[in-house]
C-alpha cells in the first residue's frame, strides 16, 4: 500500500464532512450558545433589574400573554429617560458620570428612529415557541435566558437546541414542569 493511495481518500472525507456541516447548519443544529454581540446601546440589565427592581414584564410586556415576549418601544424607555438624562449624579457610592447609553437613546428618540437591537435568542426554523405558555406554567425567564439580571451585556445562556428543550419537557429538570414532547407540540 502506498502513501498516495492512502491519502487519496482525504478529499472525499473533506467533502463528506463539509456536507455534514452544511446540513447541520441548515437544520439549525449548531448553536451559538454563549454568543454575546455588542448592542447599539449597552443596555445594563443589572442596573434596571437589580438596582431599580424592575420586573421583566415591565418592558417585555407580552411574555405572559402572547407567543411573542414583546420588545419595549423606544417610548417605553423614554417614559423614564425623558427625566433621567445622560448626566448621572453621584449615587450609591459611584461618582457622577455621563451615560453614553442614555445619550444614544435620546438621540434615537429625537431622530424618531427605533433602536436596531441585535437579536440573540432565536429558536431554529420551523419551531414555535409560545412564551405565554411557559411563563404561565411557572418557568422563569432565567430558565432559558440565564441570569440576565447579572449580565452587563446579554449573552445566549442556553443552546436552544431540541435536546435542551426536551430535557425540560420530559420533566428531567423539574418533574412538576413536564410538558408534552410530541413533535407537533412545537413543530408546525
Amino acid at each position: 500500500m502506498t502513501m498516495r493511495r492512502k491519502w487519496a481518500v482525504i478529499p472525499g472525507l473533506f467533502a463528506l464532512a463539509a456536507a455534514a456541516v452544511v446540513l447541520s447548519a441548515y437544520s439549525g443544529a449548531s448553536s451559538p450558545e454563549g454568543r454575546s454581540p455588542k448592542q447599539p446601546i449597552a443596555f445594563p440589565h443589572p442596573a434596571h433589574v437589580k438596582t431599580l427592581g424592575m420586573n421583566c414584564l415591565y418592558c417585555h410586556f407580552s411574555a405572559n400573554k402572547s407567543p411573542d415576549p414583546g420588545l419595549p418601544a423606544v417610548g417605553t424607555c423614554m417614559g423614564c429617560h425623558l427625566v433621567v438624562g445622560p448626566q448621572r449624579p453621584a449615587m450609591n457610592g459611584r461618582p457622577a458620570r455621563t451615560s453614553e447609553g442614555i445619550a444614544t437613546l435620546q438621540a434615537y428618540w429625537n431622530k424618531k428612529q427605533p433602536i436596531p437591537w441585535v437579536r440573540i435568542h432565536k429558536v431554529p426554523d420551523y419551531v414555535q415557541f409560545p412564551h405565554m405558555r411557559h411563563v404561565n406554567a411557572g418557568v422563569t425567564c432565567q430558565t432559558c435566558h440565564g441570569q440576565v439580571q447579572d449580565m452587563p451585556q446579554v449573552r445566549q445562556a442556553a443552546s436552544l437546541n431540541m435536546g435542551w428543550c426536551i430535557r425540560c419537557h420530559i420533566g428531567e429538570s423539574n418533574p412538576g414542569l413536564k410538558a408534552r414532547y410530541d413533535c407537533s407540540t412545537c413543530h408546525y
Binding site: 481518500v9 482525504i10 402572547s66 424618531k112 436596531p116 413543530h187
Partner: protein, 1101 residues
C-alpha cells in the same frame, strides 16, 4: 474480525481503520470550526411608540365590508402587528353569516398587490410618471375649473363601480357642485336584464330568494353558484336546502352549457342558446307557445319539456330563476316571473320584502356605451373612472379605447394599472377598501360598515378624501366640506351619529338605513333589437360567461385566484375554449390543448386551446371571461418606473394578469338587450377553425372519471327511499382486511357480522361511543355506510399495518390514553358533506391564505434565460401546492364523448390529507419526518424532511406537495410573495423551504392556539370553539372539524350519519376525514347517470 485480517483488509482498501479515524477527526474539526464561524446578524426593531391595545403576536380583528363584488358581505379582517393577514366572513352579518367566497378572501392580494400604484401619476412624455399629491390635486382643481369655465361641465362623465352605500350620494353631490351630471354606477357582472324584469314584476331590483323553502328549483341559465347575484348568501341557502336530503329541492338547469350551477343540478336540459324564451313561454302557458314549438326551437325533446311542465305544475313551492344573457333576456326573465306568479312562489320562495339593495341604481352597460358615443363626438371634456374597467369589460368593438383618446382629460382613481387606467392622463390611486371608510346597505334595514383594518400600504388616498380636497381647493365650494375628510362626512350622516357608529363598528353591522342617492331615470333604450342569434351566419353559437373565480377580470391580478382551478374545467392561468368531445373529434378534428381560432363578426379573432367538455351542446362553444388583459403598449417588455422596485409591472393589470389568457370579448359585437340595456354575453355565432399549434392545458385534474374507485359517492333519492348511485363498484370488490366488507351494506346479512367487527375493533377503549351507533340500525338503509371505520376513527392511531387498534395494555407513551399528557384522548377529525358541497373552491383559497401556500404558476416564476414566461408552467409539471383541492368527477353520460348525452352526474370531492390512523406515508419515510401525533394528526416535521418524496409516492390520496423551488426566498426567480405580498403571510405558520414536503396540517396552528387560549384561561376546550380555515370559509357549510373522540363536538354526531363513508376504506388507512354521500334527486323519468346502481348488482331489492 482479528488483527491479522484487519491488516490485510486495510492494505487492500488503502488505509487502516486507525488512520481512517485520524483523518476523519482532523477534517471534522476543521470544518466544525468553519461552521461555527458564520453568524448572521439579525435585528430586532421595536416600535417607536407602542400602539394602544395591541399585543405583539396576538391578532386584532376589525369588522368591515367586502368590496370585491356588489353584494357587500360582512368580513372580519384579522390583523397582526398592524397588518391584515386574513379575511373571514363576519358571523354577525345577516347576508353571509360568516362565510366568504374565494374572491372575497383574495381581497388581501389586492391590498398587498406588488403592482399597485404607490402614489399619484400623471402623463408625461414617457407615459405615466409619479407626481406628488399636491401636484395631483392642483392639476385636478385646475382642469375641472377649466371645464367649468368653458361651460362644458354638464357633459363630464364619471363611471364608478357598484356601491350600495352612501358614497354614491356623496359622489353625486360632489359632481352637482361642479354642475356635472350624476355618475354612472357600472358593474360588468350585474345582470341588468334580471334587475329590470324584477323591477317590473316584483317592484324591487333583487328580491330575496329562498332556495331552502323550495321543492323544485328551475334555473334558466341563472348561475347562482357561479357569481350570478349575491353569491355567498345564495350558496348558503342552497346548501341548507340540499342538505335536507328528504325534502330537499330537485334542481333543473336549462341552458346550452352546464356551468357550476348546472353541474350541481340534478338534471340538465341542454337547450339552444336563445331558445330559453320559447321554453319559458311554453311553461308559462299563457304566452301562446306550445311545447312542440318550444321543442322545435330549443332542440330539447318535447316529452322532456312536457315532463318539466308537469313537474312544475305538481310541485309547490318552486323557485324559477332566469339568468339568461342573450339579447332577449328581459323577456325571458318576465316570462319566468309569470311562471313564478302562476305557481304562487311570490312571497314564498321569492320575497320582495327581503330585497337586497346592492343592485339598486346600477347603470346597464348600454348607458356606458351611450357615453362612448358622446366621447367619440368630442363632447366629453372630462372623464373620471373609479373601480371600473370599461376598456376591458366592454367588447373591443364597443370602441371605448378609441373613444377615450378623444377625451381631453381622463382621470382614473384605480389603484391598479388596468386597461382603462393605462390610457388616463391622471391617476389618483384610491385606498383599498381595507384601508378606507365606507358603508354598504345590505337590505333595507341592515347597514354594513366599512372601516380601515390597517394603515395604507402605499401613498394612496381615499377617492372621497381627494374629492373633498379638490372641492376645498376652490373657495366657492370649500364651505360644503367643513370637516375635510370623508369619515366626518359619514359620521355626520350616520343614523344616531358618532356614538352609534362607534358601537356599531364593533360588529360591523347596524340596523337602519343610510341616505342613498336617488336612482337616476334611465334614458329610453336607443339600441334597436339585434338580429336573433339563431338567424346569424356561423358554425357555432358562442357562449361567453364571466369566470366564477375571476369575476369581471378584477380578480386576475391576484395569484390565489389565478392559481385556483376553475371549478368546472379545473384549468388555471389560462383561457380555454369549451367544445363538446364529439365536436372536437368529428367537426374540428382537435384534441385537448390544440389551438382553435374563433372568428366573430367582422373577422375579429381569438386563439385559445380546446378543452373538450361533455357539458356543452355540440353546436355551441364557450369561453370564460376574466383573463386576457393586455398592456396598451403591446407585448414589449414593461418599462421601469422611477421609484418602483425591479420587477414591477405597471401595465396590463400587473405581473399576474398581463398576457395571461385571451379576452373573448375581443370577438364579440357590442350587443345589448334593448329592454334593459344589459350587455348580451350570448349574442353571436362564430366560425371555429383548427389553428396551428398546441398549448398544453394548465389543469390540476388527474382524471375526470372515478373508474369505480368510489371517491365521490352519491345516493339517489327514489320514491322508495335512498339508493346507492353508481361509481363505487371497485371499492366494494376490495373489502377492508378483516371486515366482512360488502356484506355490510346488504340488508339482512349485515347485522350480526357488523356488530362483531365493531366490537372487535372497539377493544381499544376509544371506540366505545362508536359501537352503539355503528351497530345500531344503520343497515336498514340500502346503500348505507358500514361504519366499520368508527372505532378506528375514534382511536388516535392504528397499532399495526393491519389496522388493529391500541389498547391500554399495548399503547406506548403518549399514544396511551392513560398517558399524563392526555393527548391520546382526542382525535381531530373532519366531515365533508358532499350533499352541501357545490365545488365552489372557497376552501382552497382559505387554505392558501391561512397556511402560506406558495402559488407557483405566475409567468415570472417559470421565466429563465432560454425559456419564455409561461403562465402556469410549473403547474404543467405538476408542481401546484394546493393542500386542499376540489376533485371533480363526472359519472355516467357518454364516457367516450362520441355522442351528446346531457344526463351525467358530477361529484365534487374536496381532497386533503386524510390524516390516516394507519398512514401509508409514515412507514416509508427514512428519517421519520412524517409520523402520527397522539391527538390524531398526520404530522410533517419540516426540520427532519430531507425530500426523498417516498411519502408522496406512497400516498393513495395524492395530497402531499413538494417544494421544488425556494418559493419563499426573495432572491429566487420563483419567489411567490414579491413585496408587499409577503405582508399577508400568517406569522403562526412557517414558510416551507426548498426540498421539503408539505401538506394539510389540519390547521395545527389553530388547534394549538385554541389549546393555548384554553390553558391560559384554565379551562378545557369548549366543543366547536374553533374550526379550521377551510371549514370557516365554506359558503356551503359542508366542512365540519372537531374532536371525534368527544361526543360533544358536532363532528362526532356527523361521523355516524347514515351517509358517512371513507375514501379508499378498503386500504385500511383509517382516515380522519369522513365524507357524507351526495344525494341526487332524479325526476320521474330518470336520466341514466342518477339511477340506482342496478347494473352493478348492488342493493337491488
Amino acid at each position: 474480525m482479528t488483527q491479522r485480517t484487519e491488516g490485510t483488509g486495510a492494505a487492500a482498501a488503502g488505509a487502516t481503520r486507525r488512520e481512517f479515524l485520524k483523518i476523519l477527526g482532523a477534517t471534522g474539526a476543521a470544518t466544525a470550526a468553519i461552521g461555527c464561524g458564520s453568524d448572521r446578524v439579525e435585528r430586532l426593531i421595536p416600535y417607536l411608540n407602542h400602539p394602544d391595545q395591541t399585543v405583539p403576536g396576538v391578532s386584532d380583528y376589525y369588522a368591515t365590508v367586502c368590496r370585491e363584488c356588489a353584494t357587500g358581505c360582512g368580513v372580519i379582517a384579522e390583523t397582526r402587528d398592524g397588518r391584515a393577514i386574513k379575511l373571514e366572513g363576519n358571523p354577525e352579518h345577516p347576508i353571509n353569516r360568516g362565510a366568504l367566497c374565494a374572491r372575497g378572501q383574495s381581497a388581501l392580494q389586492g391590498l398587498y398587490n406588488p403592482d399597485r400604484y404607490r402614489g399619484p401619476m400623471m402623463r408625461g412624455s414617457g407615459g405615466l410618471q409619479p407626481i406628488t399629491w399636491d401636484q395631483a390635486v392642483a392639476t385636478l382643481v385646475r382642469r375641472l375649473g377649466e371645464a367649468g369655465s368653458a361651460g362644458r361641465a354638464g357633459q363630464a362623465v364619471f363611471i364608478n363601480g357598484p356601491d350600495a352605500g352612501s358614497f354614491g350620494l356623496f359622489l353625486d353631490e360632489w359632481l352637482a357642485g361642479y354642475g356635472m351630471p350624476p355618475h354612472l354606477s357600472y358593474d360588468a357582472l350585474a345582470d341588468s336584464s334580471v334587475l329590470e324584469a324584477n323591477r317590473q314584476a316584483y317592484g324591487v331590483a333583487w328580491p330575496g330568494l329562498r332556495f331552502s323553502d323550495a321543492r323544485l328549483i328551475v334555473s334558466f341559465g341563472a348561475d347562482f353558484l357561479d357569481g350570478w347575484g349575491a353569491a355567498v348568501p345564495q350558496q348558503l341557502d342552497f346548501a341548507d336546502a340540499r342538505a335536507k336530503v328528504e325534502g330537499a329541492p330537485r334542481v333543473i338547469y336549462i341552458g346550452p352549457r352546464r356551468s357550476l350551477t348546472g353541474l350541481n343540478a340534478d338534471e340538465w336540459i341542454a337547450c339552444r342558446p336563445g331558445s330559453e324564451l320559447a321554453i319559458a313561454n311554453a311553461l308559462a302557458a299563457t304566452a301562446g307557445t306550445s311545447l312542440e314549438q318550444a321543442a322545435q326551437a330549443s332542440g330539447v325533446p318535447a316529452e322532456t319539456l312536457g315532463r318539466l311542465a308537469a313537474e312544475l305544475a305538481a310541485t309547490r313551492p318552486s323557485l324559477v330563476l332566469s339568468g339568461v344573457t342573450t339579447a332577449n333576456a328581459t323577456e325571458v326573465a318576465l316570462a319566468v316571473a309569470a311562471i313564478n306568479r302562476a305557481a304562487g312562489n311570490v312571497g314564498v320562495t321569492i320575497r320582495p320584502d327581503e330585497a337586497l339593495v346592492a343592485y339598486d341604481g346600477l347603470s346597464p352597460a348600454a348607458d356606458v356605451a351611450a357615453a362612448i358615443g358622446r366621447m367619440n363626438a368630442g363632447q366629453v371634456p372630462v372623464l373620471m373612472v373609479r373601480n371600473a374597467n370599461p376598456a376591458f369589460t366592454l367588447p373591443r368593438s364597443a370602441g371605448f379605447t378609441e373613444a377615450l383618446a378623444k377625451v381631453p382629460f381622463k382621470v382614473s382613481f384605480s389603484s391598479y394599472p388596468d386597461a382603462t387606467t393605462e390610457l388616463c392622463d391622471l391617476v389618483l390611486p384610491d385606498h383599498h377598501p381595507l384601508e378606507s371608510w365606507g358603508d354598504s346597505q345590505a337590505t333595507a334595514a341592515v347597514i354594513g360598515l366599512q372601516q380601515p383594518a390597517m394603515d395604507p400600504v402605499f401613498a394612496t388616498r381615499a377617492t372621497a378624501d381627494v374629492l373633498i380636497a379638490v372641492a376645498r381647493g376652490n373657495p366657492s365650494s370649500a364651505s360644503r366640506y367643513p370637516a375635510g375628510d370623508y369619515r366626518s362626512w359619514l359620521v355626520s350622516r350616520f343614523p344616531g351619529g358618532a356614538s352609534a357608529l362607534a358601537t356599531a363598528l364593533q360588529k360591523g353591522v347596524a340596523t337602519g338605513s343610510v341616505a342613498r342617492r336617488a336612482v337616476p331615470a334611465r334614458a329610453a333604450a336607443a339600441t334597436a333589437a339585434p338580429a336573433p342569434i339563431e338567424t346569424q351566419q356561423g358554425d357555432f353559437f358562442l357562449v361567453v360567461y364571466p369566470s366564477a373565480v375571476l369575476g369581471d377580470g378584477s380578480g386576475a391580478n391576484k395569484p390565489w385566484l389565478q392559481e385556483l382551478p376553475d371549478p368546472v374545467s379545473k384549468i388555471a392561468w389560462q383561457t380555454w375554449v369549451e367544445v363538446h368531445p364529439s365536436t372536437a373529434r368529428e367537426r374540428l378534428r382537435v384534441e385537448a390543448g390544440d389551438l382553435v381560432t374563433i372568428e366573430g363578426p367582422g373577422g375579429r379573432r381569438i386563439t385559445a386551446p380546446v378543452y373538450p367538455y361533455m357539458g356543452i351542446r355540440p353546436d355551441t362553444v364557450a369561453v370564460m371571461f376574466g383573463r386576457g388583459q393586455r398592456s396598451a403598449r403591446g407585448d414589449a417588455d414593461p418599462v421601469a418606473i422611477r421609484g418602483y422596485p425591479e420587477g414591477t409591472v405597471l401595465e396590463g393589470y400587473g405581473r399576474f394578469a398581463r398576457n395571461v389568457g385571451v379576452n373573448p370579448l375581443d370577438v364579440m359585437p357590442a350587443t345589448f338587450d334593448p329592454r334593459s340595456g344589459a350587455f348580451a354575453w350570448t349574442s353571436v355565432k362564430v366560425r371555429v377553425t383548427k389553428a396551428a399549434g398546441h398549448q398544453a392545458l394548465v389543469t390540476t385534474e388527474g382524471s375526470a372519471r372515478q373508474h369505480d374507485r368510489g371517491i365521490g359517492r352519491a345516493l339517489v333519492m327514489t320514491p322508495a327511499g335512498l339508493r346507492e348511485a353508481s361509481g363505487t363498484a371497485h371499492a366494494d370488490e376490495i373489502a377492508p382486511t378483516g371486515s366482512p366488507g360488502t356484506e355490510h351494506s346488504r340488508p339482512g346479512t349485515a347485522g350480526a357480522s357488523g356488530r362483531e367487527a365493531a366490537g372487535e375493533r372497539g377493544q381499544g377503549g376509544q371506540g366505545g361511543q362508536g359501537e352503539g351507533a355503528a351497530a345500531g340500525g344503520e343497515h336498514e338503509f340500502p346503500g348505507d355506510a358500514s361504519h366499520d371505520f368508527l372505532p378506528g376513527l375514534r382511536a388516535p392511531v392504528a397499532q399495526d399495518a393491519q389496522g388493529s387498534l391500541p389498547s391500554d395494555d399495548n399503547a406506548k407513551g403518549m399514544y396511551s390514553p392513560k398517558h399524563w399528557s392526555g393527548m391520546a384522548n382526542r382525535r381531530w377529525a373532519m366531515t365533508i358533506d358532499l350533499a352541501r358541497c357545490t365545488g365552489c373552491s372557497a376552501c382552497v383559497t382559505a387554505c392558501y391564505a391561512e397556511n402560506n401556500i406558495a402559488t407557483v404558476g405566475a409567468p415570472y416564476q417559470t421565466k429563465r434565460a432560454a425559456v419564455p414566461a409561461t403562465p402556469g408552467g410549473n403547474i404543467l409539471r405538476g408542481r401546484e401546492m394546493n393542500w386542499i383541492r376540489l376533485e371533480r368527477y363526472f359519472e355516467g353520460g357518454d364516457e367516450e364523448g362520441a355522442e351528446f348525452d346531457p344526463a351525467f352526474d358530477t361529484r365534487f370531492v374536496p381532497m386533503l390529507c386524510q390524516h390516516c390512523g394507519n398512514a401509508p406515508c409514515e412507514p416509508v419515510c427514512p428519517v421519520y419526518a412524517t409520523y402520527h401525533s397522539p391527538d390524531g394528526l398526520n404530522v410533517q416535521v419540516y426540520n427532519r424532511c430531507v425530500g426523498t418524496r417516498y411519502c408522496s409516492n406512497n400516498c393513495p390520496y395524492k395530497v402531499r406537495y413538494f417544494n421544488w423551488f425556494g418559493y419563499g426566498e426573495p432572491n429566487r426567480p420563483q419567489y411567490a410573495w414579491p413585496e408587499p405580498l409577503n405582508w399577508q403571510l400568517n406569522p403562526d405558520v412557517n414558510v416551507r423551504g426548498k426540498g421539503v414536503m408539505e401538506k394539510c396540517t389540519f390547521c395545527v396552528q389553530r388547534i394549538r392556539e385554541a389549546e393555548h387560549r384554553a390553558k391560559i384561561e384554565a379551562r378545557p376546550l369548549v366543543p366547536d370553539e374553533f374550526t379550521v380555515a377551510c371549514a370557516q370559509a365554506c359558503p356551503s357549510r359542508a366542512i365540519t372539524f372537531g374532536d371525534a373522540a368527544d361526543a360533544n363536538w358536532s363532528v362526532n354526531r356527523l361521523v355516524t350519519d347514515r351517509r358517512a363513508y371513507h375514501v379508499f376504506e378498503e386500504l385500511n388507512t383509517f382516515t380522519a376525514v369522513v365524507y357524507l354521500k351526495k344525494v341526487n334527486h332524479p325526476g320521474p323519468a330518470q336520466p341514466a347517470a342518477t339511477t340506482p346502481a342496478a347494473a352493478e348488482g348492488r342493493n337491488g331489492d
